[in-house]
Symmetry: C2
């Protein structure tokens, strides 16, 4: 085995870079607020570009403001290996969500440089625009446009709550690049915190991600009859809250029936008129299903529709359900997944295969190029929160695996 096959990153340098970046938009409770295309995002981009240029990378900024830092390989005619993630954060978000994958990309280039390794293929570290979607909806708009999921005009015309467009804000912070060339990528790897509790609970350091959940989002309602809570006998009520209650339990049963990979959630609900002295006449709700197997999602859909019909009929409520979003399951390229698994094995990090329950930029990239993903644990599974945290050894382990996977693909 060559020395390169066991090369690891400089864990102190990686952690120092994470901490330096975390000062930009730092919040009082240890998180960051670095909303897409804010002044803080600009400062974070500037730091990323400076670090990449110090490595001799060529910087390319596309029309969506996605930044590609290219570390040239020995054969520049070959398609590069892509890594990276996003630099924007949720409001009062965490210090690692997204930016960890970006800075691990910088660190792996530094480690290659220090080891005097120049791979055959170029390596590009990307910093995607507006992954979070908390300032401009939808999420993952930068990678989505770059991968042809949305068109450029749609992407640039997204507006925030103050009515400022994404395109204007790109101009304002000086990151409106030119062109949107079709992505030419040999293989792509994204490193990210798990944002869930599984790895930590099982004492594992690496998640070898084999694909992304398919998703179905629904909106529905039960309509009964609003009525005076004092004068309307129980047996004469058409109480929409009872429909909601049974729906919540139904969705939970559907989710438990497809454990451990499946998810089923009623995240949002609203009663009308929502007054303590009025029997609710209407209950609106959302349902969200996730599963890596499209056939299972179809089955979950059937159980939901059948269950809602039954509940409505039994409780004398009108029932309605509409699917408002769907996302097909993604299976990553087996040879990319194998690179991640193999690197974990070789480096001696305990790992498991798992599915990404959340959306990530590389899920769009995987439509165009062989891809895979690497997870590391985060404390208590907490993310999108100032309390988000990871241990330095987890951070280093993920970057080590990323380095090996990228290096292998670029060799």
């Amino acid at each position: 085995m060559s020395a390169a096959a066991l090369l690891r990153v400089d864990r102190e340098r990686l952690w120092a870079s994470l901490m330096e970046m975390a000062r930009i938009g730092a919040t009082a409770n240890g998180g960051v607020t670095r909303l897409a295309l804010s002044d803080e995002d600009k400062a974070g981009r500037d730091l990323f570009v400076r670090w990449a240029q110090e490595l001799g990378c060529r910087i390319r900024i596309d029309a969506m403001g996605n930044i590609f830092a290219r570390y040239a390989g020995t054969d520049e005619t070959l398609a590069p290996v892509l890594t990276g993630s996003h630099g924007d954060s949720q409001p009062q978000g965490g210090r690692f969500d997204g930016i960890y994958g970006v800075l691990a990309g910088i660190e792996l280039l530094r480690s290659l440089r220090d080891a005097g390794i120049r791979p055959r293929r170029s390596i590009e570290v990307v910093n995607w625009t507006n992954e979070e979607g908390s300032r401009f909806a939808p999420a993952m708009i930068g990678s989505g446009v770059a991968c042809g999921v949305f068109d450029l005009e749609y992407g640039l015309s997204r507006t925030d709550r103050e009515g400022r467009s994404l395109g204007e804000e790109l101009q304002r912070i000086g990151y409106a690049g030119e062109g949107l060339p079709a992505l030419q990528v040999h293989a792509a790897f994204e490193l990210h915190i798990e944002q869930g509790p599984i790895l930590e609970a099982e004492g594992l350091t690496i998640g070898v991600v084999t694909g992304g959940q398919g998703q179905r989002w629904y909106e529905g309602q039960f309509i009964g009859q609003a009525a005076h809570a004092g004068t309307t006998p129980m047996e004469r009520r058409r109480d929409a809250s009872l429909g909601l209650a049974e729906l919540i339990l139904l969705v939970n049963r559907i989710g438990l029936g497809v454990a451990p990979d499946g998810r089923a959630t009623v995240g949002s609900a609203r009663l009308t008129p929502n007054s303590r002295n009025v029997v609710p006449g209407r209950a609106e709700f959302t349902v969200e299903f996730r599963h890596p197997d499209a056939d299972v999602l179809v089955e979950m859909d059937s159980r939901l529709r059948e269950g809602i019909r039954e509940i409505g009929a039994r409780l004398r409520l009108e029932a309605a359900l509409e699917q408002v979003f769907s996302y097909a399951p993604i299976a990553f390229a087996p040879h990319c997944v194998e690179r991640v698994r193999d690197a974990s094995e070789r480096l001696g990090y305990p790992y498991r295969h798992m599915i990404s329950g959340a959306g990530h930029d590389v899920l769009y990239v995987s439509r165009l190029a062989p891809s895979a993903m690497i997870f590391v644990p985060c404390v208590d599974g907490i993310s999108h929160n100032e309390a988000e945290d990871i241990h330095p050894e987890w951070a280093a382990a993920g970057a080590d695996v990323l380095l090996q996977a990228v290096l292998g693909a670029a060799a």
Copy 2:
């Protein structure tokens, strides 16, 4: 049986008065908006006062703006018989809620005058201030202060959403009277629409109301852990929405267990963060219990507390419950109830005994003087709504029974 014992009101005149009053604050869809102490309420009060003065009534306005129109009896040293209700409405409310009882009082005096009957005791028709509570909370503040439940300063200092106090608004519309003498009442009767579906469903014309429901209002919550709906496995969730769902079903079971008189309602609920992609970390809810028997309310309270503890423990949720309001059951004076029942019988109106599920001014009066209440049906049980409606024959029947009950007590 004397002629007076079968005297009835003039049903056309009663209906015409109701329709004339309904023009004040009339809404496009056939209801009224006559909020307490608004210009519309002032116009309604002016009309009431004019009609009462045409009957030779003496008008007294107390410091809460309650208007008492006194039709003198032959022995003015005796305590009067009180009837009436309230003239204010809900926003976009109905044409009969409250004002029907006030105008039936006017009509019964007209009928006595026309029949040349002057009873021994004086009869007072009252128009209470701010019964609805939709402009100034709490409801029934006019009768509440007059009956010593709240003090005058509290009553006058209630403010609406624009910050205007009840006392200022009384001054503005010219209905700030003087003094707040202790109520001297021989007996009191309030006529009101049922605001529920029972009488119409059973084909009955009169509800002989034997008392008012005791009420207990609660606020509670379940606290779990907000979590990413995509990355958090079902079996690791502490999903507060499940607590809410089970609570709603529990409260409904408690209500069904005390049918037909009992009521149990979760009217209001809120999930936090209430986002489709987040497992709810918190669920807040209200519970409202009503029953005419205080011991049953204690039993309902126990079942609720025990059930919430069990749900919280089973679902690994923190559970909290606080009682925020209670109202003891009221049993009306049997001899007053008997007058209502006897009048219904004598006049040939089909009736049943029932409990008032809603609050009414006479429930406060009953703390000081023997009282009872008369209900008439309303179409589909609808109230607090522009669609609120009653049939003219129901209106007349209720006023006939009121006339007989009042006349009997005043004889």
